[in-house]
C-alpha cells in the first residue's frame, strides 16, 4: 500500500506538478517544433513517452547493477581485479545514458518508419532530434540521483519516465490544440508566429503552476499514519 501511494505521488508529480516541459522547461524543442497539428503532437508525445520509458528502464538497469557506487556487477569485477570494497563507475553515467537514449531513438525510428510511414514523414527531423531531447536525459539523471541515494527501485524508476512522458504528451497536445485555434485568431502583427507561441507556452506554464502544493496535500491524504495535521492547521479547522 505504501509503495502504491509512493508510486501515485511520483506519477502525479511527474505528470502534473513538476511537468517536464512546463515546470522544468526541458524538452522545449519538440514542444514548440511539433505542436502545429494535434495528431502529430500526439504521435510525438507518445514517441517521446516510449523512448523515455525504454531509456529509463535501461538507465535504471545500468545504474543499479553497473554504474552506482558499490553496484554488484562492477564491484564483483573490481574485486576480481584486486580492488578493495566497491567500484564507482558513476563517471560513466552521462555518456552511458546518451548512448542508451540514442540507441532507443534509432530503434523507435526504424519501428515508426516500418509501421507508421505517414507519422514518420510528419515527424521529419524531430524524430532523430529526440536523441538530444533533454527531457529524456533529465529523466535518466533524476532516476540516477534517486537510485544512488538508495530511495528508488525498479517500480519507481519506471513510474517516473512513463508519467513524465505522459505529462509531456499532455503538454504538447494542449499546446497543439491552442495553436490550431491560434491559426484562426486575429493575432496582432508583431506577435505572429514564434512570439505568440512563446507567450502561449508561458501562459500554459503559469496555469500548470496551479498544481504546486498538490503534492503535499496528496501525501497527507494517502498516508493516514502521518496524516496528523499540524496543530495550527487543526485549530483553524476547529474554528471553522
Amino acid at each position: 500500500m505504501e509503495l502504491f501511494a509512493d508510486l501515485l505521488l511520483i506519477a502525479v508529480g511527474a505528470a502534473l506538478i513538476n511537468n517536464f516541459v512546463l515546470s522544468y522547461f526541458v524538452g522545449i524543442c519538440p514542444f514548440l517544433g511539433v505542436s502545429r497539428k494535434i495528431d502529430t503532437a500526439l504521435g510525438m508525445g507518445l514517441a517521446v513517452t516510449f523512448v523515455i520509458t525504454v531509456a529509463g528502464f535501461l538507465s535504471w538497469t545500468l545504474t543499479e547493477f553497473v554504474l552506482r557506487p558499490g553496484a554488484p556487477l562492477a564491484s564483483a569485477v573490481w574485486r576480481m581485479l584486486g580492488g578493495e570494497g566497491g567500484a564507482d563507475l558513476s563517471v560513466l553515467s552521462y555518456i552511458a545514458y546518451i548512448f542508451v537514449i540514442a540507441a532507443s531513438v534509432q530503434f523507435v525510428e526504424m519501428y515508426v518508419k516500418k509501421f507508421f510511414p505517414p507519422l514518420y514523414k510528419s515527424f521529419g527531423v524531430f524524430l532523430p532530434l529526440i536523441t538530444t531531447n533533454c527531457a529524456i536525459l533529465f529523466a535518466c539523471l533524476l532516476i540516477m540521483k534517486e537510485v544512488v541515494g538508495g530511495n528508488w527501485g525498479l517500480a519507481e524508476s519506471l513510474t517516473l519516465p512513463i508519467f513524465g512522458g505522459l505529462g509531456f504528451t499532455l503538454a504538447i497536445v494542449l499546446m497543439a490544440g491552442i495553436r490550431v485555434e491560434l491559426d484562426l485568431a486575429d493575432v496582432p502583427k508583431p506577435l505572429r508566429g514564434a512570439p505568440i507561441a512563446m507567450l502561449t507556452a508561458a501562459i500554459l506554464a503559469l496555469a500548470f503552476l496551479g498544481f504546486t502544493g498538490m503534492g503535499a496535500s496528496l501525501k497527507q491524504a494517502l498516508t493516514p499514519a502521518a496524516a496528523e495535521p499540524p496543530a495550527a492547521v487543526a485549530a483553524v479547522e476547529v474554528q471553522r
Partner: protein, 304 residues
C-alpha cells in the same frame, strides 16, 4: 596513475564496449526486422539530381522529387537547375526516352497596326493600357492591342515593344517569364511552349462574327473556318481558330492554311531564320515609328 585508476579506466572502457556490442546487436536485428524495401531507383535518382533542394520542381526537396519520379507520379523534366543532362540521366535510370523540353515564349495575338484598326477615337487619359481599357470606344476592336505599352513597361528583358501601335515580341531577348501576359489588360498575350525556332500563331483574338470584325479591323479573323479544314492542328474555339501547342509539331504542313486565310491572320513568330534574314537584306526596312500620345499628363509626373 595508480593501479586502481588503471583498473577503473579499464572497467569503464569494458562497460562502454559491452554497451556498444549490445546496442549494435539490437539495432542490427531491428534494422533487418523492420526493413522497409526502398525502390533502388530512388537512390540512383537521388544521386543524379543536383541535391540543391531548391524546391523549383514543386516538391519539398530532391528526395521527395526522386520518390515521385521513381513512382512514376510526375514528369522527369521538372528539375530546373539540373537541366537537360539531368533529364537524360533520369530517363536512363527510369528506362524511358527523354522527351525534349521546350522553352516557353510569349505570343501576342494581335497583328493589326494602328492604321488597320478602325473606329478609333482620340484618347487623352493616362497613357497606359490598363486605364485606356476602362474607357469605351478608344478603338473599335475590344480584343485588339491598345498600343500603350503596359507590356513594354512590365518586361524586364526589353523584349517586347510597341511598333506601329502593336506589341511585338523580340524573340532574341524573350525569356518567356510571362510578366507581359499578366500586364496585358486585354489578355491577348499568351505563353506557349516554343517547339521550334519559328512557330505558327493566330494573330487575332477577336471572337466576334465576320461582319463585326470587319467593321473594326482590316485584318481581323472573320471566323471562316477555312484554316481548320486544311490544318487539323487548328481547332475552332468560338469564332476563332486556336492552335493546341501541346500537340503542335514542327513538321506540320501549315502552308495551305496560311495561303487560304483571307485575312492573313495566321503568322509565323519566333526568331528569324538565316534564310529570312538573307531574303530581307535587299529590302529596305521601314523606320521604326514610336507611337506618340499627346497627353496632358506626364507619366513620370503622374506617379511622382
Amino acid at each position: 596513475m595508480t593501479g586502481e585508476t588503471m583498473v577503473l579506466v579499464g572497467m569503464g572502457s569494458g562497460v562502454m564496449l559491452l554497451l556498444a556490442v549490445a546496442g549494435g546487436a539490437v539495432l542490427g536485428w531491428a534494422n533487418r526486422r523492420f526493413h522497409v524495401p526502398v525502390d533502388p531507383r530512388v537512390e540512383r535518382i537521388n544521386r543524379a539530381l543536383p541535391g540543391a533542394n531548391c524546391g523549383n520542381c514543386g516538391f519539398v526537396g530532391c528526395g521527395e522529387y526522386a520518390e515521385a519520379v521513381a513512382g512514376g507520379q510526375t514528369a522527369l523534366t521538372l528539375c530546373a537547375p539540373g537541366g537537360p543532362s539531368v533529364v537524360q540521366s533520369l530517363a536512363g535510370i527510369m528506362g524511358v526516352d527523354a522527351e525534349p523540353t521546350w522553352p516557353y515564349r510569349v505570343i501576342v495575338h494581335c497583328t493589326a497596326t494602328t492604321d488597320m484598326r478602325l473606329r478609333r477615337h482620340p484618347y487623352r487619359g493616362e497613357p497606359t493600357c490598363t486605364a485606356a481599357n476602362l474607357v469605351a470606344d478608344v478603338q473599335g476592336c475590344t480584343n485588339g492591342c491598345l498600343g500603350l505599352g503596359d507590356c513594354e513597361v512590365a518586361c524586364t528583358y526589353d523584349a517586347i515593344h510597341v511598333v506601329d501601335g502593336v506589341a511585338v515580341v523580340d524573340y532574341t531577348k524573350c525569356t518567356g517569364c510571362g510578366d507581359c501576359v499578366d500586364a496585358c489588360p486585354r489578355g491577348i498575350i499568351s505563353r506557349v511552349p516554343f517547339k521550334a525556332e519559328r512557330i505558327l500563331a493566330v494573330g487575332c483574338a477577336n471572337q466576334d462574327f465576320g461582319n463585326d470584325v470587319k467593321a473594326v479591323c482590316t485584318i481581323g479573323c472573320i471566323g471562316c473556318k477555312a484554316c481548320t479544314k486544311l490544318a487539323p492542328a487548328l481547332v475552332m474555339k468560338g469564332n476563332l481558330p486556336v492552335l493546341d501547342y501541346d500537340k503542335y509539331e514542327a513538321g506540320f504542313d501549315f502552308l495551305p492554311a496560311i495561303e487560304k486565310c483571307p485575312m492573313e491572320s495566321l503568322v509565323w513568330v519566333g526568331k528569324p531564320t538565316a534564310k529570312d534574314l538573307e531574303a530581307l537584306t535587299d529590302v529596305e526596312m521601314p523606320q521604326r515609328a514610336d507611337a506618340t500620345f499627346d497627353t496632358t499628363v506626364d507619366k513620370t509626373e503622374w506617379w511622382g
